[in-house]
């Protein structure tokens, strides 16, 4: 009770002392505050937010840009495909109409032995029928169907040749301005497989010597019929007609989608960290030590990548990677007890030892408090040797820009990639987990409890990437990637401009790409 009363009096005394008390801040305080508020409160909020969520915003922007690009690309090609499909459908309908008319008119024409010229056919049918009683043998009985071609006559010289031929023959069924592809149906007398894949295709009957149009018509040796390549992006399917009449090929045209060359990939890298130690540089009154690595220093990086195939060989790739590294190490600082700074007061047996620790992640400014255990006071030249265990936690954002080169062809292709990487440090901490004195006369203040130190390293630094591997295409869209990789960092410095240990990582990447 007496203690409480005593406490209350103390509380009152302190409170009264501070009542109405004001302390003037430095004269430039308002300008400092104003500097943080400039140009307005809203902007300072934006700045504070950007500082706080800077890397998340950066990652979000990169992902958004990549995603938007891919979506736009996708939509563009979808539209293109739709247009092509519609056009194809329209062509198909025209063809079918033509086909049905041809069936009707073809029969009639074929039955008419006095029929001599295609000029007598209706123009819409665009069909030229050659009667069996022409100058050639019955075996040469043929019907030719003329289909409008999407290509120009100039692009397809054989077509032009045929057109010229028809024009020379005085056919009015082919407008002079419009190029055509000439297609042959099967022979009417044979119902087995006698389809012609296209103009100029080889029949089963005479596989080695297909009859040419001019042979059919004029019985002369003339150039072969059109090759299959004349009809681009088209698959021509021929069907057997159930009737005995001369039949026409049903042509189904489906557009083949041209790959955009863009791809999106998800990859993971498993990498072993290899570092080249560097002699630590001391500052006045502050010795420096370096740490010895204990664990293997395995690091994982997750990548979201996007790339574009520039041609069949070269590609460009970028993306964003998130790396987490955890690394345990030890170091052994050595002092004399007299090197420590006195704490004074009732703790004269305590000293503070300050030093710099050069590690993988940066430089840590360490300050250890050691105290003397029981016994006579330690002289200043008493050696103090410590064994300190540390664990580093690094988090990095890595943004590569890579040039790729593809080797080979087919489903399995080799690839080589090289480029630069921008690296941004998200977290760089060092946990001092154990402090053990080799000299029994001293012990760490606070026992073996650990604490965390920030590692000093410039936030942004450059690195490089080199990888060699293979890509296996599962289908048109999906592929698997496996490659061995070497990633490294260029010169890194701490805040005091001292070079940090050089390091690089060796390992492999595994992942998948999706091609749009």
């Amino acid at each position: 009770m007496e203690e409480n009363i005593h406490d209350d009096k103390l509380d009152d005394y302190v409170r009264r002392s501070f009542e109405g008390h004001e302390e003037n801040p430095p004269a430039d305080m308002w300008s400092r505050v104003e500097g943080d508020l400039l140009p307005s409160v809203e902007v300072s909020t934006v700045r504070a937010l950007s500082l706080r969520y800077g890397w998340q915003a950066l990652a979000a922007v990169v992902i958004l840009v990549l995603f938007s690009t891919l979506v736009c690309e996708h939509l563009y090609y979808e539209k293109k495909l739709r247009d092509m499909a519609e056009k194809s459908q329209a062509d198909q309908e025209i063809l079918e109409r033509s086909h049905s008319k041809d069936e009707a008119t073809g029969q009639a024409i074929h039955a008419n032995p006095n029929f001599h010229s295609a000029t007598e056919l209706p123009v819409e049918s665009k069909t030229i029928t050659f009667p069996p009683n022409a100058r050639q043998s019955a075996n040469l009985e043929r019907t030719a169907t003329v289909i409008p071609s999407p290509k120009t006559a100039k692009e397809h010289a054989p077509v032009q040749h045929l057109v010229d031929f028809e024009r020379n023959q005085g056919s009015s069924t082919i407008p002079k301005s419009e190029p055509y592809i000439l297609q042959k149906p099967q022979k009417s007398s044979d119902k087995t497989d006698k389809s012609y894949a296209s103009v100029g295709a080889v029949s089963n009957e005479k596989p080695s010597l297909p009859p040419s149009v001019e042979t059919t018509v004029a019985g002369q040796n003339t150039p072969n019929l059109l090759p299959l390549t004349v009809i681009p992006i088209a698959r021509i399917l021929l069907e057997q007609s159930p009737s005995n009449s001369p039949t026409f090929a049903k042509v189904s045209i489906k557009p083949v989608r041209k790959p955009s060359g863009w791809y999106l990939g998800l990859q993971t890298s498993l990498l072993a960290i290899i570092e080249k130690p560097r002699a630590p540089i001391s500052r006045p009154g502050r010795p420096a030590f370096s740490s010895k690595k204990e664990n293997a220093g395995i690091s994982t990086i997750w990548w979201l990548k996007s790339g574009k195939k520039l041609d069949s060989r070269f590609s460009l790739e970028s993306g964003i990677g998130y790396q987490i590294t955890s690394r345990t190490a030890t170091h052994s600082p050595k002092f004399r007890f007299g090197d420590g700074a006195h704490l004074g007061g009732p703790f004269a047996n305590r000293r503070t030892f300050n030093y710099d620790l050069s590690t993988y992640g940066g430089t840590a400014e360490v300050s250890l408090r050691m105290e003397q255990t029981l016994g006579s006071p330690a002289p200043d030249d008493e050696p103090l040797s410590l064994e300190i265990t540390t664990t580093e936690y690094n988090k990095l954002l890595r943004i590569p820009l890579l040039a790729g080169y593809q080797l080979g062809a087919g489903r399995l292709q080799g690839q080589v990639k090289a480029g630069l990487m921008g690296n941004y440090v998200l977290k760089n901490e060092l946990d001092i987990s154990a402090r053990v004195s080799q000299n029994a006369r001293f012990q760490a203040v606070g026992g073996r409890d650990g604490y965390t130190v920030q590692l000093n390293q410039k936030k942004f630094f450059l690195g490089y990437w080199l990888s060699v591997g293979a890509e296996f295409k599962l289908n048109q869209h999906l592929s698997l990637v496996a490659e061995s990789a070497m990633l490294g960092d260029f010169l890194r410095k701490d805040q005091h401009n001292r070079r940090l240990p050089e390091r690089f990582m060796l390992g492999f990447n595994l992942g998948a790409n999706y091609y749009f």
């Binding site: 409170r15 501070f18 008390h21 305080m29 308002w30 409160v41």
Partner: protein, 176 residues
């Protein structure tokens, strides 16, 4: 001194903000000095505190004392600052037993608050924080426990120790 125009401050009116700053700077700097380890730290807290007040002014609902709201912002800023500093500090005050190298210079010619501030700054951070929160800000132990993420029992025991140290420092300064 004229009452600061909060609406104008909210709009980002620089003159109104300066008026606001002039109105609160003395009291808030005194508060910052009590929490911080040094005058430089207190200046940093004051600067950060005003920026936060201007930024979060729209969160003041009009309920309760406005000065109380401003104080709360500054106390939170000071606690965050200490927390950040503790993270960056190499040494940790695990039990709060660390004492400064030199005794505080106590002058009877100066206002008692200045002397008290000097003694407070000599207390270990943990003790000083709990002492400030309980004795000067009037927070209860459950509230302190929640703010500092400690147990109520720890808050109570730390306060007792803080007071004992404070008294000891006060007595030693008065006798020298």
């Amino acid at each position: 001194m004229a009452e600061p125009n909060l609406q104008a401050c909210l709009r980002g009116d620089r003159l109104a903000q300066k008026q606001f700053f002039e109105c609160f700077k003395g009291k808030m700097f005194s508060l910052c000095l009590r929490y911080a380890n040094s005058r430089e730290d207190a200046e940093d807290v004051l600067q950060e505190g005003f920026v936060k007040v201007f930024r979060d002014l729209n969160q003041y609902t009009g309920m309760g004392n406005f000065e109380g709201w401003v104080r709360k912002v500054f106390v939170n800023t000071a606690l965050q600052y200490l927390q950040k500093q503790k993270k960056n500090l190499i040494t940790m005050e695990l039990d709060g037993q660390d004492f400064p190298d030199e005794p505080a210079s106590f002058s009877l010619d100066e206002p008692p608050a200045k002397n008290m501030t000097r003694i407070l700054q000599q207390l270990p951070t943990g003790y000083r924080t709990i002492f400030n929160l309980h004795v000067l800000e009037g927070y209860s132990h459950p509230e302190i426990a929640e703010i500092l993420d400690i147990s109520v029992g720890t808050s109570k025991s730390q306060l007792l120790r803080a007071k004992a140290h404070f008294r000891k420092l006060l007595e030693s300064n008065l006798t020298t």
